[in-house]
Symmetry: D2
Subunit: 424 residues, 4 copies
């Protein structure tokens, strides 16, 4: 399925006067309005290929219909999102779920949809049907060198796929860890993991980045071998300048101050990118901004401040990806909501009066500093985000248009109601 451009134009025309009215009030209050708008237009969030189907838990999975049955259909799905919001211009592939059979045709298809290939993701947390050795007791940390070699080889193969597609980064999330005290020697597990990562790092093209993702717990419930930002930072530092820490918002212990972690990683030049989602309890993988929108804003506030301090390019110098699981919602709707929430948080962060904030901080004027952040957050930036979309030829309200165009119904018709996409 493809959404015709004119349908978007038609829709935008309908909504135009309402939009303009809402936007007006906003524009006059924002000094650097055009600059902010351009940043919003430039900002692209990669969609993970595994999030295009229904997700599930160990207790069950309730698939909807019309899920993509192939890499081609996954690209098509991201294309639909990008057509609507013009902010999802990249897809993040997962191997072995998305092994391309023909690079050229896949690249061409993606190009057709205006999509780039974001970070590649390897998988050593599951055993595949044809796999020689099991990852039951870890992959890169495994006591058996043969298992480690298998995991290393898999990652190098993922890099190769990525090179062929034009990706520039490898995300390594390791579920390696232990379920019981005594199971692992923490130090040796760290060292084995480091050595394995070093072999993968050695295979990295010089213009690639390696993202070392950390996670506090799950699927291992006693220890995780890349368990927190401090550990990821240790690995990334020992690996070298192309290795970075990747922050997934759901991978922390309760009450963690993620925005501070972000700020310090930026300070050290070791923040690589993000997996956006939201959570109340653990790695709940909920829609971005659906539980703690203020935290999402605060994280973006640190990102804007910290990237500007290092003169980094917001759009391209970090990896922006969603990593969520859609257990009860249409995956495409959920992703539209996530992207919207991320854009809103980014827009609010761009509105923060940085100069006044610095003054307030210098004067220990805590109430004022709080007011400055809250002023930005309380501003209704939806018209701003919509305007950015409009200028980029997206829809003023992607979700509304998605529904009125009956996209899901169309996909079910095309693909059937019993399809199940690869993924968790």
């Amino acid at each position: 399925m493809k959404i015709d451009k004119y349908k978007i134009e038609e829709y935008n025309q309908q909504e135009s006067s309402k939009h303009t009215r809402k936007l007006e009030g906003l524009v006059e209050e924002i000094a650097n309005y055009e600059e902010i708008l351009q940043k919003l237009i430039d900002f692209q969030i990669a969609i993970p290929s595994w999030a295009l189907g229904s997700g599930g838990t160990r207790f069950g999975r309730f698939p909807g219909g019309g899920e993509p049955r192939s890499l081609e259909e996954k690209i098509e799905d991201v294309g639909l999102l990008h057509t609507l919001n013009q902010s999802s211009g990249a897809i993040s592939l997962h191997i072995p779920w998305d092994v391309p059979e023909n690079y050229q045709s896949i690249k061409a298809l993606a190009a057709q949809h205006g999509l780039a290939f974001d970070a590649m993701n390897s998988n050593t947390f599951q055993d595949q049907a044809n796999q020689a050795l099991s990852y039951k007791f870890g992959s890169m940390q495994h006591v058996d060198k043969a298992v480690r070699k298998q995991a290393i080889a898999h990652n190098i193969e993922v890099i190769k796929h990525g090179v062929a597609l034009g990706s520039k980064a490898l995300t390594v999330w390791l579920s390696d860890g232990s379920c019981f005290p005594g199971q692992l020697n923490f130090r040796k597990a760290f060292q084995r993991t480091l050595e394995s990562l070093q072999e993968v790092y050695a295979a990295l093209p010089s213009d690639w980045k390696m993202f070392v993702e950390y996670k506090a717990f799950e699927p291992n419930f006693y220890s995780t071998t890349v368990g927190d930002w401090g550990q990821s930072f240790l690995y990334a530092t020992k690996l070298g300048p192309q290795a970075y820490t990747l922050v997934d918002l759901g991978h922390h212990l309760p009450n963690a101050n993620i925005e501070q972690i972000v700020s310090l990683l930026l300070m050290e030049g070791k923040l690589g990118g993000f997996h956006f989602n939201d959570s109340k309890y653990g790695d709940d993988d909920l829609t971005a901004g659906s539980i703690k929108p203020y935290q999402l804003f605060l994280i973006f506030s640190e990102l804007v401040e910290g990237m500007d301090a290092r003169q980094m390019d917001h759009a391209s110098d970090l990896g922006w990806m969603i990593d969520a699981s859609h257990n009860v919602k249409d995956p495409l709707e959920d992703l539209l909501q996530s992207v919207e929430a991320i854009m809103i948080a980014y827009a609010q962060a761009l509105l923060v009066d940085r100069k006044s904030l610095i003054v307030a901080q210098e004067e220990n004027d805590v109430a004022k500093a709080q007011e400055i952040l809250q002023t930005a957050f309380r501003t209704d930036v939806r018209p701003l985000v919509a305007e950015a979309r409009l200028r980029a030829n997206g829809a003023l309200n992607p979700l509304a248009l998605y529904r009125s165009l009956k996209v899901r119904e169309e996909l079910v018709k095309e693909r059937g109601s019993k399809t199940v996409a690869t993924g968790l």
Copy 2:
């Protein structure tokens, strides 16, 4: 110090055109605009007398200046707040910190400032200088009946003060609990506490309510004898129809779903009232809405829905109080910020499209339900709240006016820079 009415008018005049412009966009989108406005005008949040001075932690306290030295000055301070925001029309007293010497003059003073006396608070978590028996091992739970009697007598005395002042509720927060396994027999502690509360309950005037506050931990670090909503509910149910549960937002275990608790307590007719504040880790007693504004909104959304379902009066059928500690900000500024955040959350909750929400819920349209709540939350309702204040003769922006009038400087001049208010 008193703020002259004309200064507020003058200020509002200055800000008038800007305010009107912002309000306009909002008004046309809200069907029941006047109704909502009236609810906002009617809504009053009681200020706790102990929050008018600087708070502290066990590690230290850093007082500002101009703190109120007497009950009279505390009333004066709340009067200042109420003059500015017209939403703080009540004070919640704490005995023995606020024992009135002359009821008539205190009542007259409060009336002069337009203030009512909200719930009275007893204190059995500290030993007072002249106290016969110690609360080191609890008060109402104490193994020694004499200590329990002392605690009961104190609470009855607090009721008497309250009756004399026109209060209609007693808030009982018990720090009773234990620091180590084995210290307490949980069952007996519960039963002794229940018996003690029953004696206090028996002394309650028939038009009074008793609020049984719960708290997960601190100052006891192993168990608390009224430790969660379930326990408070048990006490309140056994006590009788005048007993209710009081929810303090900072008194939960990590990740608790407070809005669900609120909804269920309302369902059972046992929600009594609120202590507003915000927190990231425990009973941090931060400014309301400063950490988790979306949670505050969700709580208000349940309040509005649940109170309407029982045809309760928003303004008067529950007790609304702030309970915060101002460790690094001017207490009065902090309270203005808290009240503003509460009003914003309430206004957003009033904007929720209830009819559409019910439909979405009936259809399991999760994405839509989320959109409906987010639409209300993302709306910039500050002009609405300001308009309510304007109509009630408060200031369009209380904090801005407070600062431009140099209220704190004036108070320091009047009271000195070394004053320390009673409280934590």
Copy 3:
């Protein structure tokens, strides 16, 4: 596979002198030694049928070999455990995974292994292949009455299976809840769930109990409709005298004081039973006592105290079950470890000097109270637990014998290495 009695006797003989030596020191210090021993002999912990195979997470599952392929083989597996430890004399079935085809033969088989049928478990958290309506949006809470009816009918069917087998209880664990704010009306969800439970309750034979299990989160990540003990208690109270709360150790928010909950539920006569396991982060379903053995002891200490206060029979008046997931260990080994840890905690709890503890509590002698509990906990009660097993014709060290008899190897030989048991 069956373990010959004489192999156990042989093994015990070998270990006899070592055991006797260790036991001697202990015996002389315990006044009511024989009484405690009898209690340990009588205490039986039900094994859940779904825990006999490898468990997994949403990220993967790594099955071992020789997993039971049928209900008969599951009973055989529990029989093996019981032969070894004489403390696992019951099996807890799960429908539809364990629908018996022929009640008489299944009952006869169980009797042959000395096993009773413990609480029956229903399943409305997954969709079965042949199921008319989906539980995607809940079962007993569902907005659609037809779905609720289906869930009710299923539970009633489970009761029927249980009646035929001689079970006396139904455990209802509902995953019902919501993933996003707005998805549910908490109050209505509660009320619909209550009505559904009432219909099931009405179908309960008069000598049956209904256990209402609560859980803080997972698989729903925003709210759970039976989310904490307070909610379960509300349901159980409204349902009637045959309804009780069931406590699963992994179903709480971080830092919850579970032993206090246990004590209060016993006080109210509403504690029904237990699901034993251990956890560090959430419902990790780890081996009982593997992470927080002191907590397990404290819980048993409250159980012993509270049951004795109500003159309840330790062995029969509450339901004792394991509910764990064996992701990296041989399930049978894991279960032997869990049972051992539970018996140890129970034995330690029986050793607590209750009279001295009461005196210490009455005197607020906190240090003494702590010493009394720690004295019991620090005692090495393994010889005591082993002696109880010896007298009941179990093995002195079940795990050691299990290994030396190469039980798993035998099972793999019999059943194959690729079998996968039903379960999570």
Copy 4:
């Protein structure tokens, strides 16, 4: 007050036969019995001067009697502990609470009691009476250089006191952080703090260590500038080889795996020392081992393994200190309990069968690895710890003797019942 040696001998004689009997069973099972005993004898845990009086919370403080009124009396108190247990041979001072007036007499007094001076502690979390500038908004992170200079000067002064007394380490715990989003620029706060610490580091004698303590929250409730081990590690690495991370068991987010942190810090050569205590919720400062004794054992298990791997001396190569608050118990009794729990955990860790554990780990024999740790933990090592004490001329049961000698009553007689020691 002083405890006569002969009273200890007398007591030990009385208990001798019972002790010997209990010890016998243990001795024969431990291969390297004498070696372990010597390690237990050598192991000394420093007592913090501020823990000799009753602690409190922001809600109140309930002092007992006989608290030390001077540095001399604090040394006397630690001397009493050390006389009884021979494991508390050091005192950790806190400036300005313990400024020595005469170094020689203080050193002589300590020597008389067999005490060394452990790490010195600075205080920049409170304002002292005579202090020029306030730490309300931080000390080493402060935006005002003058405040930072004051904090640096204070720390250098603390070093000087320490040098004069023979201490060899400075513990820097900074409460610096923020209470509200926006208050701090995290990056700048980090950099200012680093610069301040660098100035202190520069003043460190070449044979001194600097311990950089981290803490997740409290007294700041939004961010802490040395907030986790990763941050402390960053500071320590940037500071240089004499800087180390100090782990306080109560300073983590919920569910943190502290033993893994310990292992990794040892791996990096950056673990400096410990503050022992226990907690259920936050920095509860409860008696060591009173809540999570298995965690304490697991930490010691990592310490033994990790220190042996680096051939470190258990007794002298890390700093071992208690940091607890005694709110409801006699501080001296509480400290005796803490030391006992620490010695028990250490003894159990020494009993772990390391060779078998390595084999189990190499074979991914998770059940076996768990058994090995549990076997050590379930062993009743109290006779072993008592024997170590006996050989060192301490009391077989320090707490029992403390009580029978009526030490507290004696101290109250000497010092009065209203004394309040400096501290929190």
